[in-house]
């Protein structure tokens, strides 16, 4: 196995008296997909948001590039490498094209390069025909594909997906699965939470189950057999 991109160590998080995460460790490898399961309220989303830098942990350390730092210190450097996608993605006011281009303005690309990247990304996700359509008028499945494209264009090292296929029909799931496979084969590390693990058969390399604040590795085949 390759060297991990990032290792999150000893993540602890409590809400009031409720301990959600207890010394959780998570290693993220390039071109590998982790499937994260657990009951509602078990802390899956909280864990993903801590990894993405959107939620502050009580305690955590991050190891990357051979150095170990506290979460607070390290997250500033690695935030741009990690993108989190909501269960129901939020698309900004504007058309599909402007949504896909949103993150590019914070990169070093010039206007022409940005435009070329957007065109390529829309072709990549087969959304070129919808480029000028208002994003929030699209169906849930297409909105998720726009969100994938908006993330893909920034070439993050890690993609965190919270229940990405929960509101999709069969056709949208197939299209989304196809895009995720391409992201993984491009070298992205992917972490997916899902109540229906079998959707990700053939994509996930390892499955962890989050229960009582602890992350436990479980058999991928077992989860795929579940209803």
């Amino acid at each position: 196995m390759n060297e991990p991109l990032f290792i999150f160590r000893g993540i602890e998080k409590s809400f009031a008296e409720n301990e959600i995460l207890r010394k959780v460790d998570l290693s993220l490898y390039p071109a590998k997909c982790i499937l994260l399961s657990g009951k509602n309220g078990s802390g899956k989303t909280t864990l993903l948001k801590i990894v993405a830098g959107l939620e502050k942990p009580d305690v955590a350390e991050i190891e990357y590039a051979g150095k170990t730092n506290s979460w607070k210190k390290a997250i500033r450097s690695i935030r741009k490498e990690i993108i989190y996608l909501h269960q129901q993605p939020f698309l900004f006011s504007g058309n599909v094209e402007s949504n896909v281009a949103y993150g590019l303005r914070f990169t070093s690309l010039n206007r022409k390069q940005c435009r070329e990247s957007v065109i390529k990304a829309l072709e990549w996700s087969r959304l070129s025909d919808l480029a000028k359509i208002q994003a929030n008028t699209l169906s849930g499945g297409v909105q998720q594909r726009v969100a994938f494209t908006r993330a893909w264009i920034l070439k993050p090292k890690v993609l965190l997906l919270d229940e990405p296929m929960s509101n999709m029909d069969q056709e949208s799931r197939e299209q989304a699965f196809f895009l995720l496979c391409r992201m993984k084969s491009a070298g992205m590390s992917i972490v997916i939470t899902s109540h229906v693990p079998q959707y990700f058969y053939g994509l996930a390399d390892v499955q962890f189950h989050l229960s009582n604040g602890k992350l436990v590795q479980s058999e991928l085949s077992a989860c795929n057999d579940s209803p």
């Binding site: 993405a52 959107l54 993108i83 909501h86 939020f90 900004f92 949103y102 993150g103």
Partner: protein, 233 residues
């Protein structure tokens, strides 16, 4: 009844004939109130944002304080400012009393809590995912704040229009710290008060028509914005 009709007719004639004195009063009103709202809006909206997204002690008390300021009478603000700006007051050396600047400051104090309270409500109605999505896509904090503002722009515009409506129609502050000086600090509301006390109703009614037209315009704009918000939701 005939007297009222006659006076209204005279008022309309004054408006339509482009009476220089009357229109200079209208322009001064708009100039002062626009300056006040334009200066106050960015600060007030940032405070509203901080109260919404910040996690600091006393947040709720500050919000309650701003909410309580919504109903403060304008003469109380006028009195407070008068005491501050009078020659013997702490800011007397600035010689701001009975100037347009004093009126602008007073109106800023008046509209600040309106903008904070209504801005807070608009931002609170925004989706938390706006902030998280913008941040995860690499946007710096300032750009993320602008993105949140843009997503709730109709609510914020409604707050600004309400604030503007509050200050352009106030009389207490303008009278007390402006002094109602013709051609310098006389605005629509102080002119109406003066003309009415002199028994010259035509100019008062003409200025009242301008205020009413403005109130109608602001209400129509608010309704339009509300409709746009619902359409885009």
């Amino acid at each position: 009844m005939n007297g009222l009709l006659l006076t209204t007719q005279q008022a309309l004639q004054l408006l339509l004939s482009g009476d220089a004195e009357l229109w200079s009063i209208v322009m001064l009103s708009f100039s002062v109130s626009l300056k006040a709202i334009l200066i106050t809006t960015p600060f007030a909206l940032l405070v509203a944002f901080a109260l919404n997204h910040g996690n600091f002690p006393g947040r709720r008390i500050i919000l309650a304080f701003f909410n309580s300021l919504l109903s403060v009478p304008t003469v109380v603000i006028g009195l407070f400012l008068y005491v501050m700006l009078t020659r013997q007051g702490p800011f007397g050396d600035l010689r701001l009393l009975f100037t347009q600047s004093a009126m602008v400051i007073g109106q800023m104090i008046l509209c600040f809590p309106v903008l904070v309270a209504l801005g807070y409500a608009a931002i609170q109605a925004s989706d938390r995912r706006v902030w998280e999505t913008s941040r995860t896509l690499g946007a710096p904090t300032w750009f993320t704040i602008l993105t949140v503002f843009y997503e709730v722009r109709f609510g914020l515009l409604a707050a600004v229009l309400t604030g503007f409506g509050r200050i352009i129609s106030e009389v207490g502050i303008s009278m007390m710290v402006g002094g109602n000086i013709m051609g310098y600090t006389r605005n629509i509301t102080t002119a109406i008060a003066l003309e009415t006390s002199k028994g010259e109703f035509a100019q008062g009614i003409a200025l009242g028509i301008v205020l009413l037209a403005l109130a109608f315009l602001l209400t129509a704009l608010l309704s339009y914005l509300q409709g746009s918000k619902e359409l885009t939701a």
